[in-house]
């Protein structure tokens, strides 16, 4: 099975409350914040690795190709993924300002046509823009089926068909899809037994984790030697057509008042009755 995993970097999402806006409101600035792999992409990458390995024997049985679209230093995000276990990477050089979910989907369409993967496994959203659009547009551009918010994936025959459960805000839905197809992941894709690839023993359980696997020292060393192909939008024959134009940014108003610390339930009830008037 061959899986294409698009990844991007974002300003450290655990410190998103430190993101600032320039004085004229025209830009978001994340100075001082580290770049991290978009956590949603890290989940998809972990799922893709689980789909393409024999976990018991610790052996790769398929191929995972990472793609990143962005400035040159985005290659670090690719190396980080390669250290987790992927085979190779593709960097599509572009200015962040020239990208939106539409352009990203256009570029990924071109790459998918070239690479012919069985699955493209995207993050459901970028933790900076929170758009949740690229994966769905890509699926339609390719005319491939898509399962958004996948929480459980079982391959039925050598990675050509999948039974997939997806999360809904009213519950869960089960679908059967045939490759080539597109997935995005929900949080639950990281559960110890969320992925059954037909190679890893069915009763195998991954350790509990709320993120992707750590790269071993050996993995980090090997990643430096793995191939990363560099290309451009022109090289791929893509004429980008941005459709979203941001005019200005603001920070949300701070919550008024300050926190009142209380020691007893009686005090709390009193405050809720007389001050907040919610009881």
């Amino acid at each position: 099975m061959k899986i294409l995993v698009p990844v991007k970097r974002v300003a450290d999402p655990d410190n998103a409350n430190k993101v600032k806006v320039s004085d004229d409101g025209s830009r978001v600035t994340s100075d001082g914040l580290e770049w991290k792999m978009n956590p949603f992409d890290e989940w998809s990458l972990e799922a893709a690795l689980r789909l393409t390995e024999d976990a018991g024997a610790k052996k790769r049985v398929g191929e995972v190709v990472l793609v990143s679209i962005g400035p040159k230093d985005e290659v670090q995000t690719i190396r980080q993924g390669l250290a987790m276990g992927d085979e190779r990477g593709i960097l599509v050089e572009a200015e962040d300002d020239d990208l939106d979910s539409h352009v990203v989907a256009q570029v990924l369409e071109a790459i998918a046509k070239k690479e012919e993967p069985d699955v493209v496994f995207l993050g459901k959203q970028s933790a900076d823009g929170d758009s949740n659009v690229a994966g769905t547009k890509l699926a339609d551009f390719l005319d491939w089926p898509l399962v958004n918010y996948a929480m459980h994936i079982a391959t039925d025959d050598e990675g050509k068909t999948f039974t997939v459960k997806r999360e809904l805000d009213v519950g869960q839905q089960t679908l059967k899809v045939t490759a080539p197809c597109v997935f995005t992941a929900s949080d639950r894709i990281l559960q110890p037994q969320a992925i059954k690839n037909g190679v890893t023993a069915d009763d195998f359980a991954y350790p509990e984790s709320d993120g992707g696997r750590y790269a071993s020292l050996k993995g980090i060393m090997q990643a430096k030697k793995k191939p990363v192909e560099e290309t451009t939008l022109e090289g791929l024959g893509v004429t980008p057509t941005r459709v979203n134009a941001y005019g200005s940014f603001t920070l949300p108003a701070a919550r008024t008042g300050s926190t009142v610390f209380l020691e007893t339930v009686e005090e709390l009830v009193e405050k809720l009755q007389t001050e907040a008037k919610v009881l």
Binding site: Q172, R188, N244, L251, Q273, A276
Partner: protein, 324 residues
């Protein structure tokens, strides 16, 4: 003049309340531009479901009875056809998992840009300016979509459910468009919906949420639920509690779960990670019950009860019961 197409969301043959948030958006835009809005009711039992939407001021209720359970692959071609045959400036649905799954697919078919999960819209000289939360709600961006037709999903907490305006809309059945190849490679197997006697999370006036610290499904039931019911609240949870299997996934509040904005939000044993705050910091009054005074939930809490939840929650439940 901007005409708007609202795409209704059905569950078990009835329009979900999320549809009324999309109608509120449609009213705002059409009132500001002297346009009109239609509602497309698509899915099994569309005609019956359309009846409940007749009093909301739509010009026409379009119905499309697509059989066989929802997939975006099966629905999107029909929505795209309706969009092409009429001169809508905007197509809108609620930013539920349904809207976020379907609408970008429709947008791709008609070459439209998407403004997703918006919190507000403003019309200036006929141009629509959308405001949307980014960075887990830590920045608001204002943007325009540069394509002729625009696709929008709206945040339910920011677009209050429309109330009936009287009258009755015309109804018209539309053809179900041929599906493309993608639909042939995806098959709807089943759907499990969660039933609860409690109010819906996204609509409740009071939400009580529990975190990892509750330690088990039994404690959610025996410790937290009595408080939830004493307050007539909806129950929510942190990701850690859902991941641990204490409660089902549809209760998760946050960046990847639901966004709520009740009058009262009670966070029980929840640390207040940035991704959790993204889903609840718009609440009017926030109460935290946590034994660690330094927990980041203090950044947004109005009242912070420093206590062990296993003592405080039963005591608070009793106090609420005797007060009510």
């Amino acid at each position: 003049m901007t005409d708007v197409l609202v795409v209704a969301e059905l569950a078990e043959g009835a329009a979900r309340k999320t549809t009324l948030s999309a109608i509120t958006f449609a009213r705002q835009v059409t009132e500001a531009t002297d346009g009109a809005f239609d509602v497309l009711v698509i899915g099994e039992g569309a005609e019956d479901a359309a009846e409940s939407l007749t009093g909301y001021g739509a010009r026409t209720l379009l119905t499309a009875d697509v059989e066989g359970g929802y997939t975006a692959e099966a629905y999107a071609p029909t929505v795209a056809e309706v969009a092409k045959e009429n001169e809508y400036g905007v197509l809108v649905a609620c930013a539920s998992t349904y809207g976020k799954d379907l609408m970008p697919r429709v947008a791709a078919k008609i070459g439209a840009g998407v403004a997703s999960d918006i919190s507000a819209v403003a019309v200036e000289d006929g141009t629509l300016h959308y405001t949307r939360p980014m960075y887990a709600g830590n920045v608001f961006g204002t943007m325009t979509v540069t394509t002729d037709v625009q696709v929008v999903t709206v945040r339910q907490t920011e677009f209050d459910a429309a109330t009936e305006s009287g009258g009755s809309s015309d109804t018209e059945e539309v053809d179900v468009a041929d599906a493309t190849e993608a639909a042939g490679r995806i098959e709807f197997v089943s759907i499990e919906t969660v039933k609860s006697e409690r109010p819906e999370l996204t609509e409740a006036d009071v939400v009580v949420s529990g975190g990892r610290s509750l330690k088990s499904a039994e404690n959610f039931e025996n410790v937290l639920e009595p408080l939830v019911d004493a307050l007539g609240a909806a129950m929510g949870a942190s990701r850690a509690a859902v991941d641990a299997g204490y409660v089902p996934n549809d209760l998760q509040i946050g960046q990847t779960g639901k966004v709520v904005a009740p009058k009262l939000y009670v966070a029980v044993g929840i640390s207040g990670a940035i991704q959790h705050l993204a889903g609840m910091k718009g609440s009017k009054t926030i109460v935290a019950i946590n034994k660690d005074k330094e927990a980041p939930i203090a950044q947004v809490a109005d009242y912070f009860l420093v206590a062990d939840l296993f003592d405080a929650v039963p005591a608070l439940t009793d106090a609420v019961k005797s007060a009510g």
